[in-house]
């Protein structure tokens, strides 16, 4: 039994423990401990990717540690192709996140310790195969956020004009305590839903185990599935920013400190989408089948609604935060198609958006630190003072709007194609429109912040990226281009895993038996693109293996 996966999870945790005895004056030491902890995880993830046998596929590098035998709770770890991709993403984001917060100057010990504990939870979720421990890791990942935002966060100073200003004052909207509380409460309500679902699944299976393999193979009663699925969807969906439970995200991400925004928008939101697919769609196929129309509809709303909201924002961080709501809609849309392309795209988008939004928040934090304002209208001409930041911001924008050659394109295109060959053709249209609207607002922001005549007197201490920040930017920027130019780097892992996972999600679904066409067969079908047939074909192929 290899211990690679447990090492990946444990490394940040151990680093957090090592931070405790440090004196608060050992600033550099604490940073290096955090960086090393992250690097161990990142290296571990790379080794996992290296060792993972693509041809064999399935779950590999399994580990098993009994936890509560009487209830059938064990720490079961294993990765499939999805896990490999998401481990890599998490490793990259935490490493760059630590690099980006190198200059943080307030209670570093607690900050880095909480950050590392949080990320240990994230690693855990992506490789855990035991439902109870999955939930445990999920909570570990979600809870430290409250402190991280409430203590190290920043408050929004871009006031909203108009007759409703008093509401901002009343609730302290934009304040960091408000944002932290809102985020935590909304996510906790989601967790409550998930807990109910977890217990229900455990009880209904009656196998006295939380092993997700066993639970996944169990055929739950169709009516049970139909009411548990929405619990899972809304529970995890809240974290994925599903409309209308997304409102924690703009406030939370805007108030959070740089590294926390990076991790939260970059990785944590993916936990939500991952949970919906992994627990909801794969373990409750009939429930999923009954509800995907709603999942897709809401996701389509998410894409457009998030993009349009972003377009009207005046605060730099809010723009990026709303763009996350929009882009996570793409993930959920891909998931809802229940097609090979859609799921490939969903997982690819988790990765691509994670990297991209990580880059964005790193840059936005950097700009905020130097400009002392987040109000786009006041900025302008920053490219002359910070050309490297401007260049990376442009790259992030191009990926955000789905430019070919960047990771964002591959993901979005796969989702478009998946939706177009799925049962609900029209889902592709809002997704395509969302990409166009994204182009408008991200490029407008680039112009408003970085282009134009030189920065005004107010911005006298604009500084280009420092060494550590530069490291973070280069890592993230390289990933965007690398995984955009050569998508097979990830798709070779994702695609076979999708085939197998999709087989679980469609095994009992009552799909109309039409002759398999499209990708499966050579003969071209009649005018309308085939409905769910492609999915059926893949399911059959995957199931046969």
């Amino acid at each position: 039994m290899s211990h690679l996966l447990s090492i990946i999870i444990a490394a940040p945790f151990v680093a957090a423990l090592l931070l405790l005895p440090c004196r608060s004056t050992d600033r550099l030491l604490m940073r290096w401990i955090s960086l090393l902890g992250s690097l161990v995880s990142l290296t571990g993830s790379l080794i996992v990717a290296w060792r993972y046998d693509i041809k064999a596929g399935g779950l590999q590098m399994a580990e098993l540690y009994p936890l509560v035998p009487s209830l059938g709770i064990d720490i079961r770890l294993a990765v499939d192709g999805w896990g490999v991709s998401l481990l890599l993403l998490t490793g990259i984001i935490i490493t760059t996140g630590v690099l980006a917060s190198w200059t943080l100057k307030d209670r570093e010990k607690e900050f880095f310790a909480l950050l590392l504990i949080l990320v240990a939870g994230v690693f855990g979720v992506f490789v855990c195969q035991d439902l109870f421990v999955f939930f445990l890791f999920y909570e570990i990942a979600v809870l430290p956020m409250y402190l991280l935002i409430a203590i190290w966060g920043s408050s929004n100073k871009v006031a909203d004009a108009g007759p409703f200003r008093f509401i901002w004052k009343l609730f302290d909207i934009g304040g960091r305590e408000y944002a932290a509380m809102k985020l935590t409460l909304m996510l906790l309500v989601g967790s409550a839903f998930i807990l109910v679902a977890v217990i229900a699944l455990y009880q209904a299976a009656g196998a006295h185990t939380f092993d997700m393999g066993v639970l996944g193979a169990f055929k739950y009663d169709a009516s049970l599935q139909k009411w548990i699925f929405p619990l899972v969807w809304l529970g995890f969906g809240t974290l994925a920013g599903v409309f209308p439970f997304h409102t924690w995200s703009p406030d939370g991400h805007a108030s959070a400190p740089t590294a926390v925004s990076m991790l939260h928008a970059g990785v944590l939101m993916k936990l939500g989408a991952f949970g919906v697919i992994r627990i909801g769609m794969m373990m409750l196929p009939e429930g999923a089948h009954a509800w995907v129309w709603a999942v897709g509809l809401i996701a389509a709303i998410n894409v457009l609604y998030g993009a349009l909201s972003a377009m009207a924002q005046k605060d730099l961080k809010y723009i990026i935060a709303y763009s996350s709501v929009s882009h996570m809609g793409v993930v959920m849309l891909g998931a809802a198609t229940l097609t090979q392309g859609g799921w490939n795209g969903a997982v690819y988008q988790m990765f691509a958006h994670g990297i991209m939004t990580g880059l964005f928040f790193a840059l936005v934090g950097l700009v905020y630190e130097r400009a002392h304002t987040r109000e786009v209208g006041k900025m302008g001409g920053f490219a002359q003072a910070m050309p490297i930041v401007a260049a990376f911001f442009t790259l992030g924008c191009l990926s955000s709007l789905g430019l070919p050659g960047t990771a964002g394109f591959v993901a979005e295109f796969l989702v478009f194609a998946g939706a177009w060959s799925g049962p609900h053709l029209w889902w592709a249209l809002p997704a395509v429109a969302g990409a166009f609207i994204t182009a408008i607002y991200v490029l407008r922001v680039t112009r408003d912040v970085f282009w134009g005549p030189g920065p005004s007197e107010q911005f006298h201490d604009l500084l280009d990226a420092r060494k550590t920040e530069l490291g973070a930017l280069w890592i993230l920027g390289t990933c965007i281009v690398l995984f955009g130019l050569w998508p097979r780097l990830l798709l070779d892992y994702i695609d076979p895993a999708t085939t197998q996972n999709l087989a679980m999600a469609t095994q009992t679904a009552q799909l109309t038996p039409t002759p398999a066409t499209a990708v499966a067969a050579q003969a071209p079908p009649p005018v309308a693109p085939p409905a769910a047939t492609a999915a059926v074909a893949h399911a059959a192929a995957g199931g046969g293996r």
């Binding site: 409309f243 395509v432 490029l443 050569w486 097979r488 499209a518 990708v519 050579q522």
Partner: protein
């Protein structure tokens, strides 16, 4: 590996490697001149590779070579291939791009000599990136790779239009160009996902379901309208002139805007099966041609004249392809690439000399800029379709094809445009190079060798390419025989008439009533009308909707959440008052409850 394939990979890979090098090694980029020379060397090597390929294909036009590898796996199979596809069409385009790109890169060295070194290095990084992207598009084995190149050239166009990013106008133009073309590109995305849903691949040769070709052609044509600046999506092209003039020559005249035309040529099997869309193309192309020519008549900025002229000529190409003449459309793309690049670079030499784009700041320049004048006049005559020059032959092919397709309306519009073209180019030539010199023109200085050599090179095809229509047609796999019929004669007459009229009005100062009579027509057709409509729909509809949604999100959706939170707090406050701390109160409650229970028990 086949040496021909290797040559194609050099043309593709070398600019990519140079762009990457200049991007990731800031020290090199910031040296300016060395970075520029490196990029120019790369383009020249790409040119020699392309030249060798073209020579080989002229020898054996039927040859087809492919080298592809899986790019996008799905369900264990390859959904999309990337690599190079070499046939007569791609090889000829590769050569056109390489020639114009090399000339432009060389020209830029002189034109941008006043730029600070880091900016110059950045410019050449963009130029190399553009050459790679364009070659990626040209060599595409399927529609997916074509789309990759298509979007990348759009992005480099954005970067190059915004090269002088401190100018607010440049920022605005770059943004507009990207957003308008991106809007149109949604059509290409729809085409791609439809194609893959139907056939499981992105090949333009795939068998389509009955009636499917019309849909695909329509989707594709929407993208073409954006990239090739067809009415009403042409609005970005005139603004794109905010970029440096060599950029306008390369991207916004010779190659990138012609990518739409190239797409139609490549996807010929799809368009051939879509007669309705082709009819639409013929008409829209003709309308664009006339509309843009009318606007070009009243422009006072030399680059804007050329920009609208490019719109107009692209209209010709689209119209010709719509009429089913691949030879005409594609050949006009080729000749236009050369004479329009020549015109733009000559205009660049003029702008460099007088430091202004305005025609009123020029005049009488022929004394100072003799060679530039010759180049611009020959380019104009080629554009106007003077017999013997290359523009004449390609334009004639299009007019014949439109005539044969039985579309008298489009034919009439296109022939009228031919006359107008000759007229507005004469106007431009006279205003810029003849007449009374302006103050700036008296202090004009001639271009250096790095600027005259590209002009010299481009003069050759601008004059003589028309005579090579026969060999070129073999590359395209079409037949060609030149014959002059009535249509051709009338067009020549119209062209000569336009030149004569232009000379009478602007050269000799006669018939001044005529331009005044034109003015209202042009004003109605003026670009700003269409522009205003788009701007209005963006600022009112788009932003209005966005603001409404953002408001809804903040006050309704989020308001509900806040209300929920407030409700819990409020009820907590209320319920808390029950807990008074008085023992008496609690005893009252206990006994009261006991009494109620007893009462309820007794009643049962």
């Amino acid at each position: 590996m086949n040496p021909l394939i290797s040559a194609a990979l050099v043309a593709l890979g070398l600019p990519a490697a140079l762009a990457l090098l200049l991007a990731v090694v800031p020290k090199l980029r910031r040296t300016g001149k060395p970075a520029a020379l490196l990029s120019i060397l790369g383009s020249l090597l790409a040119l020699s590779a392309a030249g060798w390929l073209a020579a080989t294909w002229l020898h054996d036009p039927k040859q087809v070579l492919d080298l592809t590898t899986s790019w996008l796996p799905q369900s264990g199979k390859s959904m999309s291939q990337v690599g190079v596809h070499l046939d007569g069409i791609s090889v000829s385009m590769l050569l056109v791009v390489a020639i114009v790109a090399s000339c432009v890169q060389l020209f830029s060295l002189g034109y941008l000599s006043d730029e600070p070194a880091p900016a110059l290095g950045r410019y050449y990084a963009y130029q190399s990136l553009f050459l790679f992207s364009m070659n990626l598009l040209v060599l595409a084995p399927d529609l997916m790779q074509l789309f990759l190149g298509w979007e990348l050239v759009g992005a480099t166009s954005y970067l190059l239009i915004g090269f002088w990013f401190t100018r607010p106008a440049a920022g605005k133009a770059a943004l507009k160009a990207f957003v308008v073309t991106k809007f149109a590109d949604s059509g290409l995305i729809l085409a791609l996902i439809t194609l893959v849903a139907w056939t499981g691949s992105f090949s333009w040769n795939a068998t389509l379901p009955a009636g499917g070709a019309e849909w695909l052609a329509l989707f594709l044509f929407i993208a073409v309208m954006g990239k090739s600046a067809q009415f009403p999506l042409h609005i970005w092209l005139p603004d794109a002139m905010q970029g440096p003039t060599p950029v306008s020559a390369l991207l916004h005249a010779a190659t990138m805007v012609a990518a739409g035309v190239y797409l139609i040529v490549r996807a010929d099997p799809i368009f051939a099966a879509a007669p309705h869309v082709r009819l639409f193309m013929t008409d829209l192309g003709a309308i664009t041609a006339l509309f843009a020519a009318l606007i070009a008549m009243v422009q006072t900025d030399i680059k804007k004249v050329l920009a609208y002229s490019t719109c107009s000529q692209l209209g010709y190409m689209i119209s010709g392809l719509g009429a089913g003449s691949l030879m005409g459309g594609y050949f006009h793309l080729t000749t236009h690439a050369f004479f329009k690049a020549l015109l733009f670079l000559a205009a660049g030499a003029v702008i460099h000399a007088v430091h202004s784009n305005e025609l009123s700041d020029m005049g009488g320049l022929w004394r100072k800029l003799k060679f530039t004048t010759v180049a611009f006049v020959i380019g104009s005559l080629s554009l106007a379709g003077l017999p013997g020059l290359s523009g004449f032959y390609s334009k004639d092919l299009i007019l014949e094809a439109v005539h044969e397709s039985g579309n008298p309306l489009a034919l009439g519009l296109l022939m009228a445009t031919a006359g107008l073209t000759a007229f507005y180019m004469t106007r431009t030539v006279v205003k810029a190079f003849f007449g009374k010199p302006s103050h700036a023109a008296e202090h004009a200085h001639g271009p250096g060798p790095s600027m005259t050599i590209p002009l010299l090179i481009l003069l050759v095809p601008a004059i003589g390419l028309g005579w090579l229509a026969g060999p070129m047609s073999k590359l395209y796999g079409r037949s060609y025989a030149f014959h002059l019929d009535t249509i051709g004669m009338v067009t020549i007459a119209l062209g000569l008439g336009g030149i004569a009229l232009g000379w009478l009005i602007y050269g000799m100062g006669l018939l001044q009533a005529l331009p005044r009579a034109f003015a209202p027509i042009a004003r109605i057709a003026n670009g700003s009308t269409v522009d205003d409509l788009w701007a209005l729909s963006y600022s009112k509809l788009g932003m209005g909707l966005a603001r409404a949604i953002a408001w809804f999100d903040r006050y309704i959706i989020d308001g509900l959440m806040n209300f929920l939170g407030w409700l819990f707090m409020w009820s907590g406050q209320r319920v808390r008052t029950l807990q008074t701390g008085n023992v008496q109160d609690y005893l009252y409650a206990v006994f009261g409850a006991a009494a109620l229970i007893a009462l309820w028990g007794g009643w049962r």
